[in-house]
């Protein structure tokens, strides 16, 4: 028994030495932003892989272990992680990251959500009443999230407060510079069909139209009748493309493309989900390059 206890104790003390603020991010884009703001003063662990659908992730013990050691947990919010975030918050048994503590960082607090629904029920599918949660496609909102993040890190790690604020300054300058490039492509007047309700912020900020959805109701596979009608409409209207991501509805979109001649436009779903999307800037670059 004594051997077991000493073994456990030696393992506890042998845990990796603390290096900076321990940031745990649910989604890859959040991790990428945390690295931009925290640089070498933070260690970032990302829970969801870029290839995973963030709506449908199963909580895993490795996520709890990450949460257990976190100084700050950063998440998307707007109910996107509702299937696994509550378990991470409660079962990782870490009082630093529970709601109300500075280590609980809900990125959506700094976002102006679109599509907030006042009258909603689940007959409409997997809807998010607090607003469309896919705001990582929106440079305007990301800028505000990054600012909030720099303040949160500055509060947690006061010694480096200026460092985080300065990094945000650089980040903001870079966003403004890139915004010119991103907006240089005129997407106004372009019309797309989308598989899932993922691209509404993009459409709003870059001025293209979303004229239809393959999924009639979010999160519920489309019926044959709906697909038939959509194909009819698309052959008639000839939109500029079908927007989808590799994890979600690619096969269905390709089969509709074959029947209508409308090309599939594959967009990265998150940072790191496609080649050349290693950080949030590269991710937005490739999104806009694909829409061109």
């Amino acid at each position: 028994m004594r051997i077991v206890i000493s073994l456990i104790l030696s393992l506890v003390t042998a845990a990796p030495a603390f290096a900076g603020v321990n940031v745990v991010a649910t989604l890859p884009w959040i991790g990428s932003l945390a690295k931009e703001i925290g640089k070498d003063k933070v260690t970032v662990t990302t829970l969801v892989k870029p290839t995973q659908d963030p709506h449908m992730v199963d909580a895993k013990p490795s996520m709890l272990m990450a949460g257990r050691k976190a100084d700050i947990l950063m998440y998307n919010g707007l109910d996107l992680e509702v299937g696994y975030l509550p378990i991470i918050l409660e079962s990782s048994k870490n009082p630093r990251i529970v709601p109300g503590k500075p280590g609980n960082f809900d990125c959506s607090r700094f976002v102006r959500p679109i599509e907030q629904l006042t009258a909603v029920d689940r007959s409409m599918g997997d809807v998010h009443p607090l607003g469309n949660p896919h705001y990582h496609y929106s440079p305007g909102n990301i800028l505000r999230v990054a600012e909030g993040m720099s303040n949160a890190l500055a509060d947690l790690d006061r010694a480096n407060a200026e460092f985080y604020r300065a990094n945000f300054g650089n980040f903001a300058a870079k966003v403004n510079e890139r915004q010119k490039q991103w907006h240089a492509v005129n997407l106004k007047g372009k019309r797309f069909v989308a598989y899932h309700k993922l691209f509404e912020y993009l459409s709003k900020e870059f001025g293209f139209q979303l004229v239809g959805y393959v999924e009639a109701k979010p999160g519920i596979p489309p019926s044959a009748a709906h697909i038939k009608k959509l194909i009819g409409d698309m052959t008639h209207n000839k939109p500029d493309g079908i927007l989808t991501t590799s994890y979600y509805g690619r096969k269905e979109s390709e089969s509709i493309s074959a029947k209508t001649g409308v090309k599939v436009v594959l967009l990265p779903s998150d940072v790191g989900s496609m080649k050349g999307t290693d950080d949030w800037f590269a991710f937005m670059d490739s999104v806009l390059a694909a829409l061109r």
């Binding site: 272990m65 009082p95 505000r144």
Partner: protein, 450 residues
């Protein structure tokens, strides 16, 4: 070591660089430049926001007076809480409706009397035709919310034809340091794997045979007591737990035992990732205490001590949202030493049991479909059942084979067709049962445990 390196680095740095004060000024200049840049960006952003707000005000003026803008009315619900959704004064509420049709080659009175001789005298819950609820709970009401920054509360109230029961009502701490957590109130024990799961979350319509034999149709059920768990900060997941329970389960323990609390459990849960997309879970546990009930031997009361040892193993492969495999197995072993009082003859004899049970089950998911298979058996290695030091022969080895097909139209509804070939009656007869089950969930989205 690190400090030494730092010192060395600093020494090197100082010997090559300009005087430290010059470096400082340059750094400060840099910082100031950066912060002024960031401020100008913020000013730009705020100006944009001002423009947008002006536009909005103009728009609003055009709208009818008194109409609140949608953004404003919802801004209070922007902060997410523990349970992922909006922070409300009302607790999260969800409701499950479970209904099924049942068919068997046995009639209702045969089902009612179909216990497992040598294990339990309790019969089957299901009746021919239409039923509500796999464990007689047609409707389950869940209420959960944070109490304050220190506790979360969960309540589970199953409704049946007979009324409402208090299955679970407990608080969980959220503010204890160093990975400690306590649970208090009435809750399902975390002994082994299936025990803490709710009937609607089971992979099959009914509980595995070893659970039915040793704990009853719904496992141990809610027990009053306290639980302590600890998640040490190790490189791998290991949870240690202990429970102090009243011991009211009427199969393994008994509400009428003379003192309380008289049941205890200890468990360890471990896990590691076998590949990028697969995880293995395992752990031993034990549930022990005083036994006093009349559900083990017909027309006799059993009074003594029991210990139930469990070993769980669960492997899950989930490469994408549309595909997955789970394989799950548990082994339970019972030791029991009791006095048996025959109710009619009022004679007292000794009872000594060493019995075990095992099941293996697998689920394959493809899109909205799930296919399941299960095999469960009792008396795999141990079949000691000695009454007055004489080994009894209750009959053939009990076993059961199950196949199931599920269609889940959405995350909130489930349609399941299941077939059991059940030889647990030990009298040579088999119960061939077919179940068509529907489960619907409304209200707050509950997170899925692993």
């Amino acid at each position: 070591m690190k400090q030494l390196l730092c010192l060395l680095g600093m020494a090197l740095f100082c010997s090559f660089s300009v005087p430290a004060s010059g470096q400082d000024t340059a750094e400060r200049l840099n910082t100031l430049e950066n912060s002024s840049r960031s401020q100008s960006v913020i000013i730009e952003e705020q100006q944009k926001a001002i423009e947008a707000l002006k536009d909005e005000i103009a728009k609003q003026k055009n709208q009818e007076a008194g109409q609140i803008s949608r953004e404003e009315s919802l801004s209070s619900s922007r902060v997410s809480g523990f349970f992922g959704g909006s922070v409300l004064t009302n607790p999260n509420i969800s409701l499950l409706v479970d209904t099924f049709a049942y068919g068997s080659n046995l009639n209702n009175s045969e089902l009612e009397n179909r216990g497992i001789p040598g294990f339990t005298t309790l019969g089957k819950d299901a009746r021919e035709g239409f039923n509500m609820g796999a464990a007689e709970d047609g409707v389950e009401l869940f209420i959960f919310a944070p109490v304050d920054p220190y506790f979360n509360v969960y309540v589970n109230l199953p409704f049946s034809d007979e009324g409402v029961a208090l299955e679970e009502a407990f608080a969980v701490t959220t503010a204890l340091p160093e990975g400690f957590q306590a649970k208090l109130g009435k809750f399902k024990s975390n002994f082994s794997r299936i025990n803490a799961q709710h009937p609607h979350a089971w992979d099959f319509f009914d509980i595995a045979l070893p659970y039915r034999a040793f704990l009853g149709n719904e496992g141990s059920g809610g027990e009053k007591g306290m639980q302590f768990t600890w998640l040490p900060s190790l490189p791998f997941y290991t949870q240690l737990g202990a429970e102090l329970l009243q011991g009211e389960n009427d199969q393994l323990f008994g509400a009428d035992a003379r003192s309380g609390p008289h049941a205890f459990s200890v468990f360890v849960k471990g896990s590691f990732e076998t590949t990028e997309n697969s995880t293995l879970y395992f752990g031993p546990s034990v549930l022990f205490g005083k036994t006093r009930n009349s559900n083990i031997i017909a027309d006799a009361e059993v009074d003594g001590r029991s210990a139930l040892y469990g070993m769980e193993a669960f492997w899950k492969w989930k490469p994408s949202r549309s595909e997955g495999v789970t394989i799950q197995s548990e082994y339970l072993f019972l030791t029991q030493r009791c006095d048996v009082t025959d109710v009619a003859a009022e004679t007292v004899e000794s009872l000594r049991r060493h019995q075990d049970g095992f099941y293996l089950q697998g689920i394959y998911q493809s899109g909205r479909w799930r296919f399941g298979a299960r095999y469960d058996t009792l008396e795999l290695f141990a079949d000691t059942f000695e009454r007055a030091d004489l080994q009894q022969d209750p009959g053939a080895t009990p076993w059961r084979a199950t196949g199931s097909v599920e269609f889940n139209p959405s995350e909130f509804s489930r349609i399941r067709l299941q077939y059991n070939h059940d030889r647990s009656g030990r009298d040579g007869t088999s119960n061939n049962e077919a179940i068509l089950q529907f489960i619907f969930g409304i209200g707050a989205h509950a997170a899925h445990n692993f």
